[in-house]
Symmetry: D2
Subunit: 331 residues, 4 copies
């Protein structure tokens, strides 16, 4: 039994806390949020303690692991403190917006024995996972091309854009991780960006649409397309093309209903609205994987290093966007 405290009781922290409450090998001990109203509500709902401070959580011998779902700017500090306190750590992505801080964090914690996992939920999606496993098992032969589609249903508020680190570090970072999961080491990045959705995002210095292409050390080519707006829901798709075939993972809808009428045929539901719904299974699997990793003392599938590498690709994309060049990624 792994005993958890959840730090950060916003939307994603709440979801994780509920998943922890349902997991047979996990027990939720406490929750914490700087907004005590949020932590009190979650504590009441789940029948656990609302901790008064992070220090209280880290000092609590009844806490084996922390799930960090606070704002990005606090991640490095919390990871470092938790690792030093001997806690296992499951931290939402990104580790930080500044690769230097990520490296500094690693230099402080790498000597410690803490299990650290970064929350790249998509690797735990049953469909993406099945594609990965079938690729690895050789079903489509050598990997040649990947097309990743990732479009949010609607842009976040500008206040979020302002602290997000930009589209590549905030949104594409998931796709970079997915690219690495399927194609391994990435050696080159090229990015085009555009402002097609909301002029306020341009005014904030960010883009709201992008097409990024990567080359892998294996020779495989990877394309990512992103948009901050999608009329038909949260568009999350994957095409993996190999010498012997192609595996595709598609969107999820609330029902299997299809409508046929004079207007057209086989019209399905809109796709599930956003990540909480789309990746519900993935988040539960992510928790389960972390629990297993902590119990077994193994490195999680989405390690601290994976968090650092995805950020490095985001930085390379940003440099490419600015310079118009494909950027070579060095280790």
């Amino acid at each position: 039994m792994i005993r958890f405290s959840v730090l950060g009781c916003g939307r994603i922290g709440t979801m994780h806390a509920r998943n922890l409450a349902r997991h047979p090998q996990a027990r939720l001990t406490s929750v914490f949020d700087v907004f005590t109203r949020a932590s009190d509500a979650m504590a009441a709902e789940l029948g656990v303690k609302a901790a008064a401070s992070v220090d209280e959580v880290l000092a609590d011998p009844e806490v084996d692991a922390v799930l960090i779902a606070t704002s990005t700017d606090t991640h490095v500090e919390l990871i470092t403190a938790a690792a030093k306190a001997g806690k296992a750590i499951l931290c939402e992505k990104p580790i930080a917006l500044d690769i230097a801080k990520v490296e500094q964090c690693w230099s402080e914690i790498s000597g410690l024995s803490a299990t650290v996992m970064i929350g790249f939920n998509r690797r735990f999606d049953p469909s993406f996972r099945a594609v990965h496993d079938r690729l690895t098992a050789g079903e489509i032969g050598k990997l040649e091309q990947i097309v990743i589609t990732s479009r949010d249903p609607a842009p976040p508020p500008i206040s979020y854009i302002n602290v997000s680190g930009g589209l590549f570090r905030d949104m594409t970072i998931h796709d970079f991780d997915l690219a690495r999961y399927f194609a391994g080491e990435i050696v080159s990045v090229h990015a085009f960006g555009a402002n097609l959705v909301d002029p306020a995002i341009a005014a904030a210095g960010d883009i709201d649409a992008a097409m990024v292409t990567l080359t892998a050390a294996s020779g495989a080519l990877i394309h990512i397309n992103n948009s901050r707006r999608c009329s038909y829901g949260y568009d999350q798709r994957l095409e993996v093309f190999g010498e012997k075939g192609m595996l595709v993972a598609g969107n999820k809808t609330a029902t299997t209903v299809q409508a046929f009428s004079g207007a057209g045929t086989a019209q399905g539901d809109v796709v599930l609205p956003f990540f909480i719904e789309r990746y519900a299974d993935a988040y539960a699997n992510e928790i389960a994987h972390f629990v297993e990793s902590v119990a077994a003392g193994t490195t999680p599938l989405t390690s601290f290093k994976d968090g650092a590498e995805a950020l490095r690709l985001a930085d390379a994309a940003l440099e490419s966007l600015k310079t118009g060049r494909a950027v070579t990624v060095t280790k």
Copy 2:
């Protein structure tokens, strides 16, 4: 080279005449229609002779085969005369509306050597054909169940209903033939009918919707559903279920385009409007099969006997509708 005359220059005769004009081993010699305006137009379009009478056609040594696309009430007389004149015959379904007349016709022509084929176009549809061939090849093991969906886009005029012989002899007859094509000998028929589409059809003494179920000598069960109206086009589908799997053949649309919007996802085109479009390939294949059969002197896939048997099933369905009983089909 088989030289043809087309008898009947309505919609379906016109289509057949054009297909004959395109077939490399067929040559269209003449066309005939009691409405000379129709035969003159077709003759002009295709650069052939408009015959003045059926007798002229049957006496013409340049005519090897006749394609009979006249009204149903003339079929038996024309088949008989053409067979006696030594012509090969491709006749549109049904042979007649009265099984006694069909049997009488057979008694007159069975001693002659004429090739006689009945135009059950669906056996020549590439998708239905592929399902048949894969079933026969054993892909899904022993046949267990068939579901045939056949819905017209809109009811015909009442003037047509009045001479059609009723839904089972006019429309379901195709499905009965398809059932025999896939399941072989049929031993029992049950039918429910309904008037759901147009009260004028009820007033004319016919039904406009039906569900018919058959049992085959093999034990297989077959379901047919029919409607004289379908909002999304001409609904022509087939499910063939066996011990090891299922093969399904679906509808055809004008394009592969799918639309995704806030209203729903993956909405395709309406299905092709009616038989001329839906079975365009099937009609061309049917002509090709007839030409091959005549050239080789073999019995066509859809023989006179098949025409008689399908009518017998239609009659059984009508009896079932009237009596409420499943009707045993005897040979």
Copy 3:
């Protein structure tokens, strides 16, 4: 908060008990099974009491409702006793295999105020439910035809067949209920059955495949096809055809992955294996509906009467199978 005891700790009772344990307005108080090993295991897993007898459960003031998941032959007795004890009742289908017993049960409990719900899970499936609600909202106009496909992945053991009441009362009963849910009052039933799967089922006096057709008082036609074996999983589909269009609900698969290769394109996963997986959401919704009905004092969507009517249709199908006639259903 509704406090439950689960009677019967087999596969389906276990699933219900777990769903109850997760429902925020339900509390599981105790479980009971004649096999104490089963009830002890479930009690241990869920941290509740293993009751020593049904009497103990019914006498327990901490039990507001019983969920009856015992063998069919005990249902009537348990329903009657529980109703007399003032408990709300959610009973798995069928109520009994003998309509006379069902009627006798009703005569004993109808004067009592007990909430009684029969577990017709399919009405609570999100996709079937959505089709129902869209039909009711008028999206496809007047209902004309329904095609229900329901095929089990593999036959049950003969020991189960022997006490099942036969295919119609055991398996088709769900489809009869679904037909009533969509089409309302049924007036006529015709059934063909076959033995295509397992000779031992024939030896036991039952059929293992069926095609049943119903007519509704509204004039709508309904077709049901059943098989005790299906190679590609648990085949559960619904086509609802109306004057303005068609709504279809399809199967569910574990992932959205599609494979493309030289062998073919867009091959999806096999469908979910059986009812526990396929109707996971439906079972959770069923519990939620029961809890709401008990709390509100309203009649559940799947009432005792619905259980009786579905059985009456099963009996009519059996009579039709024996007599070869369509059987008129009288109230």
Copy 4:
């Protein structure tokens, strides 16, 4: 009636000649090939003259238009001569492999009144056309992103690779034209290439896989992925994403058959093998459009200028591949 001569009787010339023979407003007068065996065969099949030389064709007053389907290196010379001879011209892509030659050609013929059309068949595919027309009609609002997938079933022989001008000028040129058709003026091109299919292609100095990204003057982003090999057929797809929705056009298969078994569900046929089959309708529509353009004296949809612009994008892609930079396209 437009009277044609077909120059070049290889696979694509043969197909065009047959399409011309079927078109009601076209008449095939003659065919020519330097391999007289090929032109004789085609002339015999279609009942037309096998011209002895291009000069004979261009001097023939019975020839209104030439269809140029010879090898690429002869296109410029034939276009120029035909234009000077007052013939209308439908020339297969590409005009030439060297943009300077294309411009030189234009300077010679632009003052003449000849109708010149370049055979970018994809604009005439019914599905791509429907997507274009629905986009233009505003169905999905402002265009934001396009993903074009274009994968050949198998690489051509190295002898062809050697004279092809390379992947971008030979294969991607169709995708560049499609990008321009949907997105208008292109301002920037970035390309990654790879050798994943056949080492002999690398040895010949070419790539066999590519990912190219374009930006349009409108701000839209376009992604193209190419492969010289595809196990499941000729993969030709299009995703057009706009502010209000997405329109997708997919592959075509020989039948609508889907297979369901223990290995998986809904497996369709492999996609049509290559361009002759996939674009059969498109080629017929292309001929029809040319005939209409010549008859009406209007500029065809795929003009000489379109041929030049697509080549310019191919050159830009090649430059990008070599420099690692996004290349700005200037007019």
